[in-house]
Amino acid sequence: MSAWKRLFWGIGLWAFSNGFASDVLDLSRMNSTILFAKLYEISQSAEEYKGKTFRMKGYYELAKDEIDGKKYHVLLLSDAAACCNFSFEMEWDAHEKIPKKGSQVTVEGIFNPIFEEHMIIPQLKKTRIVP
């Protein structure tokens, strides 16, 4: 295919996929560079993303809050150098089977930012595992 044809198809596909813009923001196939940039943007305009469905890939952990002793389900996203880590708190969907701790999972959930004093806690509600 010549370069011009490829460009044409590329733009066409892009327009096509946008025309069919689904409500799921797919972060699961992004490489770490663009993923963390996107996550930063989401954290800066959390209100706008509230209620949107995110699809993400990361590691499942069960974390214990040191202050109040409560247990939290956490999805851990880390970059190649493991120097930037981003974690989402998860509320599993009613009938969802909880995966093994430390395993890699791809999930979909509704983004629900919890606004506390100086921070925003990123939470996913009704989280389901997707293939």
Binding site: N31, S32, T33, I34, A37, E41, A80, A81, C84, H118
Partner: protein, 279 residues
Amino acid sequence: MPDLLETFLNYLQYGFVQRAFVVGILISLCASLLGVMLVFRRFSYLGDSLSHVAFGAMAIAAALNFTDDLLVMLPVTILCAVFLLRSGNGTLVKGDASIAMMSVGSLAMGYLLMNLFSKKANLSGDVCSTLFGSTSILTLSSFDTVLCASLSVAVILFFVLFYNSIFAIIFDETFAKASGVKVERFNLVMAIVTAAVIVFAMRLVGSLLVSALIIFPTVSAMRLFKSFWGVTLCAVVLSVFCTAIGIVVAILVGTPVGSTIVAVNILIFALTSIFRRVK
């Protein structure tokens, strides 16, 4: 290939990607002009040292809870630049020792301050990003973009309008002064420009890699051209090219932006060196 292209066009819709390209290209343009001014005056390491000072200033800003660290970084770095570039005139400490002291001191104090005072959760991530520029160029706000763009335009204008005086000063400062060029004033302005460009360049490639952005384009260009005008133009073109390619590769492959840009610069340098040999 079409898959990659589709992904790239997809990413190009994101505001932060567009801003990254615009600001990245403008900053690398300015950095290459800076390189032309610094490399021939044997001040190549100044970029590195000033970026460490800027890092220290950023730590102070974080410790004092400034929302916009540029307010601290810019004045502190500018003051240091002015001090360092003028300290050749009879002050106690000689050139490279004073640069080294300031540089390493700021880096150490900066890191210490950040550990003592910062309330941010992801401290090592921030430090890593600031030092190596993994994603900082992709996290710019619209305000940052406007600020960077204005600065870049100012620097470019300065260089274009005063090109002949700058050349005269770099080539032979004594003769320039004797022929009426206001050398003192220019040195002051060049110090300020250096500091400002370095502070912004840190957003692109991180503190530790700023020197690369400044030095490589000029040195590569010198292997291809023999006139000052040729070298300047070539350095600008190479710098912008390397940054654009670097950002594209980084967002498609997932590598840290800063190191990728520097890697492309190194590749170009190797190519131009080979070209020079073969010719």
